[in-house]
C-alpha cells in the first residue's frame, strides 16, 4: 500500500526515437506552408459549405458521408474562430480574412502526418524488422498524392488515419493477447479498435470495408480461441463477450454518438429542410417549427389542414386545388370529367388548405369539445377556398390512364354522382382506434366506392394544370409506398361559420401552443435513411475516372491553379511507389498461393511462426487494399482518383513486408542478399527522386515554365494545366 515510501518512484521512459523522428518529418512535410494557397482548392468548395453550416448551426443534409468527418473539419474552424461567413461557390476563390485557413486545414494535415509513424508501428507490430518498418513509414512520407490530399480540407487523410489506427490497435491488442489477456493495455487497445473503426465509418461510408476486414480477422482469431482446449469454457466465453462488446456494441454506440452531436449542433432550420419529414422539420428552430408550434395535436372534424405527401418525389408538395377545371378533351383525345383540378403543389399557398368534414353533418367548424378523427373513420375533405369536396371516380387520370382521376366535385347534372367519401387509414398506427395526429400520423385516404387510394403520381401536368404535379386515385395499390401516404403539416381548428370569414381565417397564419419533439432515435433513423437515399447528381466530371485507371495511375486531378502564374496543385501519385506497390501485391499473392499449395502437400518452406506472420500481414495489408479497392467496381457514383488513396496506403504497407521476405527467405547467399539490398536502395532513391520532381505540383509553391510542365507530363492522360502566354 505504502510501497512508494519504501521504494523510490521511478519513471522509465521508453522512447523510440524512430517514432519521434518519423513524426517530426511527417509533421514537417504536411504542415509546411499549410495556409498556402489562400484560396479554395478543389473539394474544399464542397466541404467548406458544410463547415459554414456547422458554424452557423444550420441543419443540412449531405448524402456523401456520415457527419463525423464534417464535424472534425468544423472543429478546426471552431478552434480558429471561424464565423462561417464565406461564400463557397467557386474553386480558386480567394479566402477572405475571416477564414482561418491554417486551423481549418490543420486536422487533416495532422491525420496525414501521424499516418507516417503509424505505418512504422503497424509493420513493426506485424513482426517485421525495424528496417522494413522505417521503409514503410518513409514510403508513406514521400507519397505525393497522400501529401497533397492531407494538406487540404479533405477527408481522405482522416479516413486513412482511422483505418490505420484500427489496424494498429487491433495488432497491439492481439499481440498482448498471448501474454497478458484482460490487462489494462489489452482492454485499451481492444476498445480503441472499436472506436477507431466507428470513426473510420463515421468519416466516410467506405470506412465500413476496413471495419469488416478487422471484424473478419478478429473472427478468425476468435475461432482459434474457441478451439484452444487449454482454456476453460468460462474463459473462452469471457474472451468472446469482450470482443463482441468492443467490436460490435461500442462502434454502434460511437456511431450513434456522432449523430447525437451532429443533431445537437445543427438545431436551426436551413436550406435542406424540405427533404425531411414534417415532424423532423418541426424539431428544428425556425422554419416549419415557427409555423407549426402550438398547433392542436389531434385532427378533429372541422379541422383545417394542409396535407403533405410523405414520399415527396420529385419535389415535396402539398395537396392542392384551384378554380380551374380539367380540360374537356386532352391533347391525345381522351375525355375528362371537366371537374375542378386537384394537384400537388410544391409551394405554400392558401389553396393548400382542406377542411376535414363529417359526412353526416353540414357544419365546417370544430365542436366544443372537438371530436377527433380516428383510424377507419369515413371523412370528406372540403377544399377551403372553393368549398368543393375531394372526389374520385372511374375516369382515367390525365397522365396516368391506368389510375382514376381525382377532382373537386362540381355537379354538372350529367349522371355522374359525387363519390366523395374517404376512409382514413393511419399507416403508422399503434392500435386500431388511434387518433389522427398532426405531423406524426402518416395516413392514406382510401376511396369508399372504388377502394382507390389517393396518390401522388409525380408527373407534372401540362400548361392547363400550371405544371403542378398530378394526383390520382390508384386502384392497383400494392403494399406500402410513400407516394400514397400523406401527413398533416399545418393544422388549426376551424371557427368560422361563413365562407367569407373562413377565407380570411385561412389566409391568417396558424398560431397556437404546445410543443412536441421527436426522440433522438426517430430523428437519427430518418436522417440516416435520407442520407443513404438522397440522390446525388451522378454526372460525369471532367476529372472523374474508373477504378481501372487508378492502379496504373492513368488519371490525375487538377486541384488548383494560381490565378496568374503556372503554380498549381495537382493530385498525382509517385509513379514508382504505385507501380512497385502493385507489383509487390502481385508477388505476395503468387508467393502466398505457392506456399499454401506446398503446405497442403506437407512441404513447409517457412517455419510456423514465420508463416503466420506472413499470412497476417497479407490479410491486413493486401486484404486492406482489396476491400478498399474492389467494391468501387460495383459503385455507380462518380469516382475520382482520391477514392483509391485508402487502398494505396494499405498497399504501401505491404511493400517492405514483401521486400524483407524476399531478401530474408528467397535470397540464398550473402552475395544475393547484398545485391538485392543494393537494388532496394537504388529503387528507393528513384522513388525519392520522383517525389522531389513532382514536388512543385504537390505543394503548388513554385511556378514551372511550360516546358518544365510538359516534361512532367509523363502520361498523356495527365491533364497538367499549361498556361498559354
Amino acid at each position: 500500500m505504502l510501497g512508494f515510501l519504501q521504494r523510490p518512484v521511478v519513471v522509465t521512459a521508453d522512447i523510440n526515437l524512430n517514432v519521434v523522428a518519423l513524426t517530426a518529418v511527417g509533421l514537417l512535410s504536411r504542415l509546411w506552408q499549410l495556409s498556402y494557397p489562400r484560396a479554395v482548392v478543389f473539394d474544399e468548395v464542397y466541404y467548406g459549405q458544410y463547415i459554414s453550416f456547422y458554424m452557423k448551426r444550420i441543419f443540412f443534409l449531405d448524402g456523401s458521408g456520415p457527419p463525423f468527418g464534417h464535424m472534425l473539419l468544423a472543429l478546426g474552424g471552431y478552434l480558429g474562430g471561424f464565423d462561417g461567413n464565406f461564400l463557397w461557390n467557386r474553386i480558386g476563390a480567394e479566402y477572405s480574412t475571416n477564414v482561418p485557413v491554417w486551423s481549418l486545414r490543420l486536422l487533416p494535415a495532422l491525420a496525414g502526418a501521424l499516418s507516417v509513424p503509424m505505418a512504422y508501428q503497424i509493420v513493426w507490430e506485424l513482426g517485421f524488422s525495424h528496417c522494413a518498418a522505417v521503409g514503410a513509414a518513409l514510403l508513406i512520407l514521400i507519397e505525393n498524392s497522400l501529401i497533397t490530399q492531407s494538406r487540404l480540407m479533405l477527408l481522405e487523410s482522416v479516413l486513412i488515419f482511422f483505418n490505420l489506427l484500427a489496424v494498429l490497435s487491433y495488432l497491439k491488442f492481439s499481440n498482448s493477447q498471448k501474454h497478458r489477456p484482460f490487462s489494462p493495455s489489452w482492454w485499451f487497445w481492444l476498445m480503441l479498435t472499436g472506436v477507431a473503426c466507428s470513426c473510420a465509418v463515421g468519416t466516410k461510408y467506405v470506412g465500413v470495408f476496413t471495419y469488416l476486414l478487422v471484424l473478419g480477422v478478429a473472427a478468425a482469431h476468435a475461432w482459434h480461441l474457441i478451439g484452444d482446449q487449454t482454456l476453460s469454457n468460462v474463459r473462452v466465453l469471457c474472451h468472446l463477450l469482450a470482443r463482441a462488446v468492443a467490436l460490435l456494441v461500442i462502434p454502434v454506440l460511437v456511431y450513434l454518438l456522432f449523430f447525437y452531436v451532429h443533431l445537437l449542433l445543427l438545431c436551426r432550420s436551413g436550406p435542406h429542410d424540405q427533404i425531411m419529414s414534417s415532424a423532423f422539420q418541426a424539431s428544428l428552430e425556425g422554419g416549419l417549427a415557427r409555423i407549426t408550434q402550438g398547433q392542436p395535436l389531434e385532427v378533429a372534424y372541422g379541422s383545417q389542414v394542409t396535407l403533405k405527401n410523405v414520399f415527396g418525389q420529385p419535389v415535396p408538395c402539398w395537396l392542392h386545388s384551384h378554380q380551374s377545371t380539367y380540360p374537356m378533351i386532352y391533347e391525345n383525345g381522351r375525355g375528362s370529367s371537366h371537374q375542378q383540378q386537384v394537384t400537388c403543389y410544391p409551394f405554400k399557398d392558401v389553396n393548400n388548405w382542406w377542411i376535414v368534414k363529417d359526412p353526416g353533418r353540414h357544419e365546417l367548424v370544430v365542436n366544443n369539445p372537438p371530436r377527433p378523427v380516428r383510424h377507419g373513420d369515413i371523412v370528406q375533405l372540403v377544399h377551403g377556398m372553393t368549398t368543393r369536396l375531394l372526389n374520385t371516380h372511374d375516369v382515367a387520370a390525365p397522365l396516368s390512364p391506368h389510375s382514376q382521376e381525382v377532382s373537386c366535385y362540381i355537379d354538372y347534372n350529367v349522371s355522374m354522382p359525387a363519390q366523395n367519401l374517404w376512409r382514413l387509414d393511419i399507416v403508422n398506427r399503434e392500435s386500431d382506434t388511434d387518433v389522427w395526429k398532426t405531423i406524426l400520423s402518416e395516413v392514406r385516404f382510401v376511396h369508399v366506392n372504388t377502394s382507390a387510394i389517393l396518390k401522388l403520381s409525380g408527373a407534372p401536368l401540362p400548361d392547363w394544370g400550371f405544371r403542378q404535379l398530378e394526383v390520382v386515385g390508384e386502384k392497383l395499390s400494392r403494399g406500402y409506398h410513400g407516394s400514397t401516404v400523406w401527413n398533416v403539416e399545418e393544422h388549426r381548428y376551424g371557427r368560422s361559420q361563413e365562407q367569407k370569414e373562413r377565407e380570411l381565417e385561412l389566409r391568417s397564419p396558424a398560431q397556437m401552443d404546445a410543443s412536441r419533439n421527436l426522440s433522438f432515435m426517430a430523428r437519427f433513423s430518418e436522417l440516416q435513411w435520407r442520407m443513404l437515399t438522397v440522390r446525388s447528381d451522378d454526372s460525369e466530371h471532367k476529372y472523374s475516372s474508373t477504378p481501372l485507371d487508378w492502379v496504373t495511375l492513368d488519371t490525375s486531378i487538377a486541384y488548383w491553379l494560381h490565378p496568374r502564374t503556372s503554380a498549381q496543385i495537382h493530385l498525382l501519385g509517385n509513379i514508382v511507389i504505385w507501380a512497385s506497390a502493385s507489383l509487390a501485391t502481385l508477388v505476395y499473392a503468387l508467393l502466398f498461393v505457392w506456399y499454401l499449395l506446398r503446405r497442403r502437400r506437407r512441404v513447409c518452406d517457412l517455419p510456423e511462426g514465420c508463416w503466420l506472420r506472413w499470412a497476417l500481414a497479407g490479410a491486413l495489408c493486401a486484404g486492406g487494399w482489396a476491400v478498399n479497392y474492389v467494391p468501387f467496381f460495383l459503385m455507380e457514383k462518380t469516382l475520382f482518383l482520391y477514392h483509391y488513396l485508402p487502398a494505396l496506403a494499405f498497399q504501401i504497407l505491404l511493400l517492405p513486408v514483401v521486400l524483407e521476405h524476399v531478401s530474408g527467405r528467397l535470397c540464398r547467399s550473402q552475395l544475393q542478399r547484398s545485391f538485392f539490398g543494393a537494388l532496394v536502395v537504388a529503387w528507393f532513391a528513384s522513388a525519392c527522386h520522383v517525389s522531389n520532381t513532382l514536388r512543385p505540383l504537390t505543394y503548388g509553391d513554385r511556378s514551372l515554365s511550360p516546358s518544365e510542365l510538359k516534361a512532367l507530363r509523363w502520361k498523356d492522360s495527365w491533364d497538367i494545366l499549361i498556361r498559354k502566354y
Partner: protein, 675 residues
C-alpha cells in the same frame, strides 16, 4: 391441370419468342436463347404453327395448339420434385427427410403456378436442380474415382450447368455453387498425401474438361443454333451493329447494294458504334420546359423507324442537292455539314445549354424551320484515323461529328431519358474530346438516287464477334430494366416472408384469376428452418471446435447437418443474396430457385432434429414414435394448407378475398396479398 385457356402474364413474352423460332425471325431478348429455343421446339413438335400473336395478357388461344409448350414446361416443373427427393436422400441418407422435401415442393402453390405456364423459370429450375442432383451424386461417387458412374455424373453436372446458364444468366449462381464444391473437393484431394501429383493432375483435368470445357462448348453451341435458326430479319435487328444485321435475310443490309461513298443530299441513318445504343433519332416532341432549351428532342433509338432518317446538306446552301442537273458532290473528311431531320425538317443543333441527364455535356436539339437554322447547326464530319480530303465510306468509316461553335463532339451517353423522352437514350454533345465509342458513329442506310448502287460484301462478323456482341447487348438490356419512380416494385426482402404475390391473370372479381403466391405454411416453415439451422449448425460447429466428444449417433447426425445442410444453405444464399445488389427491376418469381434449396434444407433439418429429439428421449418408451409422429404431422399440416390455398394456383372466380362472400375470405393472412 391446364384449364387456363387465356394466357397469363409473361407468357405474352416467352410464348411470342417461341413463335419467333418457329417463324425463324430474328428477335432480341435479355435472356440467353436456350430456354426459348426449347419452348419453340416443344411448340414445333406439338404442332403449333407460330401464328398466334401473343399480344396482351388475357387473349384467348382459340384454336392454336399451345398445350405442347405448356405441357413441356409443366413436365419439367414436375420433375423438380423427384430431383429434390433424390438430392435430399443422397445428402441425408434418410427417407423421411426426402419425403418431407418432396411434400413441401408438391404442395407449394407457388412452384405449381410457376410451372403451369410457358415461362423460362420451370426450365431454369429444372436445370438448376438437375445440376445440383448430379453434383451430389458425383460427390457420393468420390470413393470410386474415374469409374463409369463418376464420369457420368460429372459430365451430367457440366451439361446441366450449360443448360442453366443458357436459359437465364442467374444460372451463373449454380455454377458458382458447383465451382465452390469442386474447389473444396480438389483441395481435399490435394491435401491427401496418399495420392500422387499425377493422380491429382488427372482429377483436375477431368474437372476442367467436364465442368468448364464441356459447358462452354454446349453454351456456345446453343448460340450457334440460335443464330442459325433465326436467319430472317425481325424486330430485334436494330439492337445489333450494322455488320451483324447483314447476316439476316430480309434486312436491307443483307446482300446490301447501296452507294458506297457519302454524298451531299443523301438520306442516311447514323448508328452509334457503341453496342446497343442505336440510331440517331429525332421526333416531333420538344424537350420539356426547364430542361435546356425548349426545342425538339434528339435521342438515340434502337428500333428502325422513319424518324431515324437524316439528310446530309452543305452548311451554307439550302438548294435541293438531288436536283439531277447538279453534279454529285461527295462529302469529305473535315467538311462542314448540316444534318437535317427528314421528317420534321429541323437541323441537328447544339448550344451552351446543359444536357438533360449528363449535366456536364451540352444539349443536342432539332432546330430551325424547313432546314433554315443558325450557325449552331454546323458540324464538322471527321473520319477516325484518316487524313483530310478523303471520301467517307458508308458502313465502314467510323466518323465523329464535331460541333463547330462549341467544339464539342456528338455522342450518346447511353442513359435512358424519362417518360417525356419516351425512354429513348440521351444524345449529348460532349466537350471532353477523349475518344470513346460513345462519340463514334457510322452511316448505315444510304439513299441517293444519283449514285450507282454497289454491292457491298459488308465485313461478315466472325462467330466469336457475334457472341460477344450478343452478350454486350443482353447485358445492356438487363441493366436497362430499371424500376421507375413511383412504381411499386418487389424487393428481395419481401420474398422469403411471402410478402406479396404476383397476379398471373385476371384482376377483377369476374375474371378467372391465378395468383402466384407461395403456400404460406411452407414458406414460413422454410424461414423458420433457416433460423433453426443457423442456430443448431453453430452449436454443433462450436462443439466440434471445442473438441467435445459426441456419441456416435449424434456425430453422424451432426455430419449430415453440417455437410449436407451446409451445401443446401450455401445454395440458398447464392441464389438469394446477389439480388440485393442488382439494380434491375426484380420480380417475386426470382426467388423460386432459392426457395427450392430452402425447402430441401427444411426437409433435412426437421428430420435430423426429430431424430436428435428421439435420441435424447431414448429413455422414454414412446421415444421411437417421436420421429415418425413429427414427420407425419408436418406432412399432414402441409397437405392441409395446400387444400386451403390450392385455388391460387388452379384458378379462382368470384369476389376478391377481402369480400366476406369470397371462397378465399379467411385466407388473406397478410394485407399485402391481393388475390
Amino acid at each position: 391441370m391446364r384449364k387456363g385457356i387465356r394466357r397469363g402474364w409473361d407468357e405474352t413474352h416467352f410464348g411470342k419468342m417461341g413463335s419467333y423460332y418457329i417463324n425463324r425471325t430474328f428477335f432480341f431478348d435479355v435472356h440467353p436463347p436456350l430456354g426459348k429455343m426449347l419452348v419453340g421446339l416443344a411448340g414445333y413438335l406439338s404442332g403449333y404453327d407460330g401464328t398466334f400473336l401473343f399480344q396482351k395478357p388475357g387473349d384467348k388461344y382459340e384454336h392454336h395448339s399451345y398445350l405442347g409448350m405448356r405441357g413441356f414446361c409443366a413436365f419439367l416443373g414436375a420433375l423438380l420434385i423427384p430431383f429434390a427427393y433424390l438430392t435430399v436422400l443422397e445428402l441425408s441418407q434418410s427417407l423421411p427427410a426426402a419425403l418431407l422435401t418432396a411434400a413441401l415442393l408438391t404442395f407449394d402453390t407457388g412452384c405449381l403456378t410457376l410451372s403451369q405456364y410457358i415461362l423460362l423459370d420451370p426450365i431454369l429450375m429444372f436445370f438448376i436442380m438437375a445440376a445440383m442432383l448430379s453434383m451430389v451424386k458425383y460427390n457420393s461417387c468420390a470413393n470410386r474415382p474415374f469409374s463409369a458412374p463418376w464420369w457420368l455424373w460429372l459430365s451430367l453436372t457440366g451439361v446441366n450447368l450449360a443448360g442453366a446458364l443458357g436459359v437465364k444468366f442467374v444460372g451463373l449462381f449454380i455454377i458458382l455453387q458447383v465451382g465452390w464444391n469442386t474447389l473444396s473437393d480438389l483441395w481435399h484431394l490435394f491435401g491427401d498425401l496418399s495420392l500422387s501429383m499425377v493422380t491429382v493432375g488427372k482429377h483436375l483435368t477431368a474437372r476442367v474438361l467436364c465442368l468448364i470445357v464441356l459447358p462452354l462448348a454446349l453454351y456456345t453451341a446453343t448460340y450457334a443454333v440460335h443464330f442459325m435458326v433465326l436467319n430472317k430479319s425481325g424486330p430485334g435487328d436494330g439492337f445489333f451493329s450494322s455488320a451483324f444485321q447483314a447476316r439476316l435475310s430480309g434486312n436491307n443490309l443483307h446482300n446490301a447494294s447501296i452507294p458506297e461513298h457519302l454524298a451531299y443530299g443523301s438520306v442516311i441513318t447514323v448508328k452509334s458504334a457503341r453496342m446497343a445504343v442505336g440510331y440517331l433519332h429525332s421526333h416531333g416532341h420538344l424537350y420539356p420546359e426547364g430542361i435546356g432549351a425548349h426545342q425538339q428532342q434528339v435521342t438515340t433509338y434502337l428500333h428502325k423507324d422513319y424518324n431515324n432518317l437524316w439528310i446530309i446538306k452543305k452548311h451554307n446552301t439550302n438548294s435541293d442537292l438531288l436536283d439531277p442537273s447538279l453534279p454529285v458532290e461527295f462529302v469529305r473528311h473535315g467538311d462542314i455539314i448540316r444534318l437535317e431531320h427528314k421528317e420534321t425538317s429541323r437541323n441537328l443543333h447544339s448550344h451552351y445549354h446543359e444536357a438533360p441527364l449528363t449535366r456536364k455535356h451540352y444539349q443536342v436539339t432539332g432546330y430551325g424551320i424547313n432546314g433554315t437554322g443558325d450557325s449552331n447547326d454546323f458540324w464538322r464530319i471527321e473520319v477516325v484515323n484518316r487524313k483530310f480530303g478523303n471520301r467517307i465510306k458508308v458502313l465502314r468509316s467510323r466518323i465523329r461529328l464535331i460541333h463547330l461553335v462549341t467544339g464539342c463532339v456528338l455522342g450518346s451517353s447511353g442513359k435512358v431519358l424519362p417518360k417525356w423522352g419516351w425512354e429513348q437514350l440521351e444524345v449529348t454533345c460532349t466537350p471532353y474530346l477523349k475518344e470513346t465509342l460513345n462519340s463514334i458513329w457510322n452511316v448505315e442506310d444510304h439513299i441517293n438516287p444519283k449514285l450507282p448502287n454497289i454491292s457491298l460484301d459488308v465485313l461478315q462478323p466472325s462467330f466469336p464477334e457475334i457472341m460477344l456482341e450478343a452478350h454486350m447487348v443482353m447485358i445492356r438490356g438487363n441493366s436497362g430494366l430499371k424500376p421507375k419512380d413511383n412504381e411499386f416494385t418487389s424487393k428481395p426482402w419481401h420474398w422469403p416472408i411471402n410478402y406479396q404475390g404476383l397476379r398471373f391473370s385476371g384482376i377483377n372479381d369476374t375474371d378467372f384469376r391465378v395468383y402466384l403466391l407461395g403456400n404460406p405454411v411452407v414458406w414460413w416453415l422454410n424461414l423458420l428452418s433457416i433460423a433453426l439451422y443457423l442456430l443448431s449448425g453453430s452449436i454443433f460447429a462450436v462443439a466440434v471446435q471445442r473438441g467435445a466428444r459426441l456419441p456416435a449417433e449424434v456425430e453422424g447426425l451432426s455430419q449430415v447437418l453440417l455437410q449436407g445442410g451446409g451445401q443446401l444453405l450455401l445454395g440458398w444464399m447464392i441464389h438469394y443474396f446477389p439480388f440485393f445488389l442488382m439494380g434491375r427491376i426484380l420480380y417475386f418469381h426470382h426467388y423460386f430457385p432459392a426457395m427450392l434449396f430452402s425447402s430441401m434444407l427444411t426437409g433435412l433439418l426437421w428430420d435430423t432434429l426429430l431424430r436428435l429429439c428421439a435420441w435424447s428421449l431414448a429413455s422414454f418408451s414412446l421415444a421411437g414414435h417421436v420421429h415418425a409422429l413429427g414427420i407425419l404431422s408436418l406432412l399432414l399440416g402441409i397437405a392441409y394448407s395446400f387444400y386451403l390455398f390450392h385455388p391460387l394456383a388452379y384458378g379462382m372466380v368470384g369476389p376478391l378475398a377481402q369480400d366476406p362472400r369470397s371462397p378465399m375470405a379467411g385466407l388473406r393472412w397478410l394485407e399485402s396479398w391481393d388475390f
